[in-house]
């Protein structure tokens, strides 16, 4: 083999190696950057939080501390434990173990006055009129603003005189969103607020959330539609099989991952975890 030939093969091999190195995705470090920093007000704190459903585990020792004034994405696939975590915070599930506090108080009557929860299902009495439901919420929650609620209903084109049973599923969801966002809560829990609605409505819902939440409060949004919500998120928590597998602020994590979107990072992290499992 002549020198030229040898040199040619060497160059070819180097080019192939470089190409394959480019194809091989760089492994994403499963960082657990604290979302809460010294001096921040802690809105939510969970320590070794466990929820065992008997047949299956909902949460496996979750440790989180969330600061005030941020929109945080609780991101994970279906059945990963997102809804379980939100239900535990809202007080409609009883934890099997661990500690859970909202603004320093254990979940109970006191914290329910501070938390505005939007479940993924419609739970309102069908026989009620929208205006009656607003009166109901204004009666029970001191931080509820009736004016804000009516203004939101107007912008969402919902007639307050109508009975809930006459409204479509999408409109009922809008009413529930209004009831939550009309509160001046300390912690908003939004469970899949954009699931099952068309892209235009998604935009509308996200705009309503961003425009109306209390700036000193924390918004915890659970979803698997990451690409739709990532533009509004300050921080994120990736949930998988009842555990927080990664957390951090969106901007620095994206920067560390060569400018990838949160959705792309999420997909790669899940792929990595599935391969390691």
């Amino acid at each position: 083999m002549s020198f030229e030939q040898e040199n040619g093969i060497r160059e070819e091999t180097a080019a192939l190696e470089a190409a394959s190195a480019q194809e091989m995705p760089k492994k994403i470090k499963l960082s657990h950057e604290p979302l809460w920093h010294e001096g921040d007000t802690a809105v939510l704190e969970a320590q070794d939080l466990v929820k065992d459903y008997g047949g299956g585990v909902g949460l496996l020792g979750v440790d989180i501390k969330l600061p005030a004034g941020k929109i945080i994405g609780l991101l994970g696939t279906n059945g990963s434990g997102k809804t379980t975590l939100l239900k535990l915070i809202a007080g409609i599930l009883t934890p099997t173990g661990g500690e859970l506090t909202v603004c320093g108080s254990k979940v109970g009557v006191e914290t329910k006055a501070l938390v505005a929860y939007l479940p993924e299902r419609t739970y309102l009495n069908d026989w009620m009129r929208v205006e009656e439901i607003i009166e109901f919420f204004a009666d029970f929650y001191e931080d509820f603003s009736t004016e804000k609620a009516y203004a939101m209903l107007k912008s969402l084109e919902v007639d307050p005189k109508r009975k809930l049973k006459t409204l479509s599923k999408g409109t009922k969801e809008k009413v529930q969103l209004v009831l939550v966002m009309a509160r001046n809560a300390k912690l908003y829990l939004l469970d899949e607020p954009i699931a099952g609605v068309d892209p235009v409505a998604r935009e509308f819902i996200l705009d309503t959330i961003v425009a109306n939440y209390n700036r000193e409060a924390t918004v915890l949004v659970s979803t698997h539609l990451i690409s739709d919500v990532e533009k509004v998120l300050d921080s994120f928590l990736f949930v998988r099989n009842g555990k927080i597998i990664m957390q951090g602020d969106v901007a620095p994590v994206r920067e560390a991952c060569d400018g990838k979107t949160l959705d792309e990072i999420f997909r790669e992290v899940y792929k990595q975890c599935s391969q390691n499992a």
Binding site: A90, F136, F140, Y141
Partner: protein, 295 residues
């Protein structure tokens, strides 16, 4: 918060029960008027021989049109009155049980348990609303029956005449038991109230146990829990009443002692109903506080 909870609970239940109770009173008034008209028509002319010597029959015998219509209408209204009476009583019971189940164990629980309200306040709201509707239904029922009876009395007062034999019987009874009549009535009312509240608390507790045990086939499981728990509780109540009344049973036979035993049994069972109600209340409270897991 309790006042707010009660206000909304009453609003939720009134939309079903209030029209029903109004309907019951309205039907009783209509039935009374119709029956009164019919009886007046019947008693106004009993039939006989006219001045011209013709035989004229009573309206009920000659099949006059007005009488026939009134007769059919009265029959219908009287049947409707008793049907509405039964429906009203059953509806109060069914609605109270249903409200408890839906408020705590269905999707409505998402609203109930996210309100800044204590579990005690929730249970008390249900209990007080149950008492209010029970009292309202009994009052409406009593009023309807009173109107109905008054209508009959107004049409045929002779139907209410008491014969000498009955008068004698009543006087004898009053002579023997007149001294405990007042206290028996008071104890009887107290026992009825305690028993009513205790049975609803038992139902609430049984439903809570059923829903805690399973998420599937809840109706069957809750029904089974009601059956088993009420069976066990009534057995315990019977044994406890028997045991607690032993000292009164051993006092020897005399009319005074029999009266005392009767009063003692009423008082003991009232106390036991209160114990049952309180026990079921705390059982329900514990489940709603510690075992609530909405799907």
């Amino acid at each position: 918060m309790f006042a707010k909870c009660l206000k909304h609970e009453m609003k939720a239940t009134a939309r079903v029960l209030l029209p029903l109770l109004i309907c019951m009173v309205a039907v009783s008034i209509a039935a009374t008027l119709s029956l009164g008209g019919l009886l007046s028509l019947e008693s106004a002319y009993m039939g006989g021989i006219t001045d011209s010597g013709e035989i004229e029959m009573a309206p009920s015998q000659n099949g006059g049109t007005l009488y026939g219509i009134l007769d059919a209408l009265t029959t219908l209204l009287v049947i409707a009155f008793f049907v509405v009476l039964i429906i009203a009583v059953v509806s109060v019971f069914v609605l109270m049980v249903r409200r408890f189940y839906t408020s705590f164990f269905t999707d409505e629980g998402y609203l109930t348990f996210t309100l800044p309200v204590t579990v005690d306040c929730h249970i008390l709201t249900k209990a007080v609303s149950m008492i209010i509707w029970n009292v309202a239904s009994y009052a409406a029922m009593g009023f309807s029956i009173f109107i109905f009876v008054l209508g009959i009395f107004w049409s045929i007062p002779e139907a209410f005449e008491i014969d000498e034999y009955t008068k004698l019987y009543i006087n004898q009874a009053l002579d023997r038991f007149g001294d405990i009549f007042g206290s028996t009535v008071i104890f009887g009312i107290l026992q009825m109230i305690a028993s009513n509240i205790a049975s609803f608390m038992l139902l609430y507790f049984s439903i809570s146990v059923g829903c805690m045990l399973t998420k599937k086939h809840r109706f069957i499981v809750c029904a089974a829990c009601v059956f088993v728990i009420s069976g066990v509780v009534s057995e315990i109540m019977a044994i406890a009443t028997e045991l607690l009344s032993v000292p009164f049973q051993n006092m020897g036979y005399s009319e005074e002692n029999v009266k005392l035993l009767a009063m003692a049994v009423m008082l003991i069972s009232t106390v036991l109903y209160i114990v049952q109600g309180v026990g079921c209340y705390f059982g329900t409270r514990w489940i709603l506080k510690n075992k609530i897991n909405l799907e």
